[in-house]
Subunit: 411 residues, 2 copies
């Protein structure tokens, strides 16, 4: 599979995060001749937060993580690609148990502080021995760098590894934030169907970390869509090793607290970066599309309208075909089920006003809009004319490439 034309030029330089180490290995879970398992290890005292798929058919590792999260501490995350261990019944549960048990043994840590994630085909038993056999070697290979290798090891239909790093001040102490992600199809809130793992050396109580994560995801991963399909396995985990020497923050610190401002912005920005990379690797994607919705009844209504546009096969095929077919945007606004005033609706494409007050602008000249549609970055803005709710969502076009990948490949 060729690398997406929308891929970033290179993988970012990612520094080590104090207290976090990682290792990867080619275990042959499904793929041959590539790394497919990644182990993260964290020093004692590391707090953790997580957000998972809302699917009613969530995978066995997701169920495990949900329970483990209650302990608020993480010593390890074990991830494999090639098999989702989803819809695998009792056998799937036992597989998770054996894998996390193995990790706890190899790292000499409590089993309840080991998290697991699996991505790949649904419904096939996880050959967990391929993983457990490798745990000792993985534990021996752990080191502070190698985030690029980790991003590689968790890929499935991805055409490029996805990573991002940020730093921020808490008090006068600089902290580091690293994150990797995978995902290119089955991408829709909640969550944007993917795996993402983050580590920071910040010292943050788990409940605060959880609120920070949920807030940032609401503005990043939950605002992207590739195909409107939601995975059984979506998992985002953030581990905070607490090795940075900034003043303590209590668990009930408000998100608006000025001491958190820079960290919160960095976390949101990092997740937004990863989310955009997922869209840029959307299966068959040729165009990166930003959709701004204004004038909605609420922020949530705006997001729903944005996602209705972003998920519409007719809008997405028009984008792929470079056709400024704004009538389909009108259609998608109409089907979103949220309040909209047809006779006040305004639409811009590429900054050019196409329609206002419910009809095409007088003397509409399609030429500049058609030119914009030929570019790689498409901007659609809609004002639905009923309130002050705003949202921004991102998606890609629906192309022959998407059909090729999904009609021919059992992912």
């Amino acid at each position: 599979m060729p690398v997406s034309p929308l891929a970033p030029k290179s993988f970012p330089e990612m520094p080590a995060v104090a207290g976090a180490r990682l290792a990867t290995r080619a275990c042959g879970v499904k793929y041959k001749d590539r790394t497919d398992v990644c182990l993260f290890a964290f020093d004692p005292g590391t707090t953790v937060a997580g957000v998972f798929t809302k699917s009613k058919t969530a995978s066995a590792p997701v169920e495990w993580c949900r329970r483990a999260l209650k302990g608020k501490k993480a010593r390890a995350i074990i991830v494999n690609a090639g098999n989702a261990n989803a819809f695998t019944g009792r056998a799937g549960k036992k597989s998770v148990d054996r894998v996390v048990d193995g990790v706890a043994g190899a790292l000499d840590c409590p089993k309840g502080q080991v998290f697991a994630a699996s991505t790949g085909v649904i419904g096939e038993p996880l050959p967990d021995q391929t993983i457990t056999n490798a745990l000792k070697a993985l534990a021996g290979d752990l080191k502070g760098d190698g985030w690029d290798g980790a991003a590689q090891a968790i890929m499935t239909t991805d055409t490029f590894p996805k990573g991002a790093t940020r730093s921020a001040l808490i008090g006068e102490q600089e902290v580091t934030l690293n994150g990797i992600a995978k995902g290119s199809g089955m991408i829709a809130p909640d969550m944007a169907t993917m795996l993402s793992f983050l580590a920071t050396d910040a010292k943050l109580p788990a409940p605060l970390l959880q609120r920070l994560l949920e807030d940032a995801i609401g503005r990043s991963f939950n605002c992207i869509t590739v195909d409107g399909d939601t995975s059984t396995s979506d998992t985002v985990l953030i581990a905070a090793t607490g090795q940075a020497r900034h003043p303590k923050l209590s668990a009930d610190t408000k998100l608006g607290d000025p001491r958190l401002k820079a960290f919160r912005a960095a976390l949101t920005d990092l997740l937004m970066d990863l989310a955009h990379q997922v869209v840029r690797d959307g299966e068959g994607a040729q165009k990166f599309v930003t959709i701004d919705v204004a004038g909605a009844a609420s922020k949530n209504a705006a997001r729903k309208i944005g996602l209705a546009i972003a998920n519409s096969p007719l809008v997405k095929t028009a984008i792929a075909g470079e056709d400024p077919n704004w009538g389909r945007i009108v259609m998608a606004v109409g089907k979103a089920g949220e309040k909209a005033d047809r006779d006040r609706l305004a639409i811009s494409i590429g900054g050019v006003e196409v329609a206002r007050r419910g009809e095409v602008v007088p003397g509409y000249d399609e030429a500049p809009v058609a030119r914009h549609m030929k570019g790689q970055d498409i901007a659609i803005a809609v004002d639905v004319g009923v309130g002050r709710g705003r949202a921004r969502v991102w998606t890609c076009g629906l192309t022959h490439g998407y059909i090729d990948i999904n009609a021919d490949y059992r992912s």
Copy 2:
């Protein structure tokens, strides 16, 4: 565009309906060298019922019809293809007004009893003069047969005309039911994005006719989907001329009344036939897919789960690729948002049980399932294991043909 491989072998023989006449004409609204306008005329005393799109950006003719329906009587329906007169602001409203005014003049009937429907491109002003100029000629051409011609005249991206006829006894009197439909993309409840016009010689008060229509649509047009997109223009109208000599039925007759049993069955069957024809003409469709959902919390929950499966791009591409990728069905059940028990979920494809109690069946043999996937008619059955709600929905695969049609053609 070649005729869909799923098309019926021929257009049915459709008898005249006493009190209903029709005519078509090539007016050049947008297309050249084909009929594109259809006029239905009904004798005085004809009652009418209608169901329309739930889009918040409904077209001008839809708004007109909603108001006209309050009068409960119909003398005419005027339909054009090539331009939807949607999102055309005040100009669109005036166009409808001029067209229905013209029809009322040509047929010498009250304007409020003239219904209108338009289908085609959104956002372009309707060149209504091309229609009004032809009304006198259309009125002169009215006759009782020619339903096939009417089905032709209302087509847009359709590759074959869609018609169906049924008869039923009310008391000892046989009544006739004729219907035509168009639609092949932008097909999703509510309504399945399309136009459909029906006429019967039954004598039914408008409120009863309305309840009968809504009931039948709930089991037909609202159970099909091609792409999950909802049109601005969906319109189903049924006219009952009342020329059949069966005993009168009062407006508050219950739908379960034995005197209505045969008529209700015939109407549902006719609408189901038309709905299936729409799916069989789904843009790019190569497979006709029936999805049965059982064990849901309610009938409505079952329908929602069925539509989540039917609208999933990943399920639809797997069907197009003849890949028995049942993991994607699990995913779609999970994302539907309705109650489902992962560990009781059962899935069959082509009558072969693939999974039960939340995992693949022991010794699963994919060969017969793969064979079934190569056929033209695909059957998927799911039991979600929580209740007794059932529903059946229909869809088609998502193919390169869909992309071709919608990336290249401004419909």
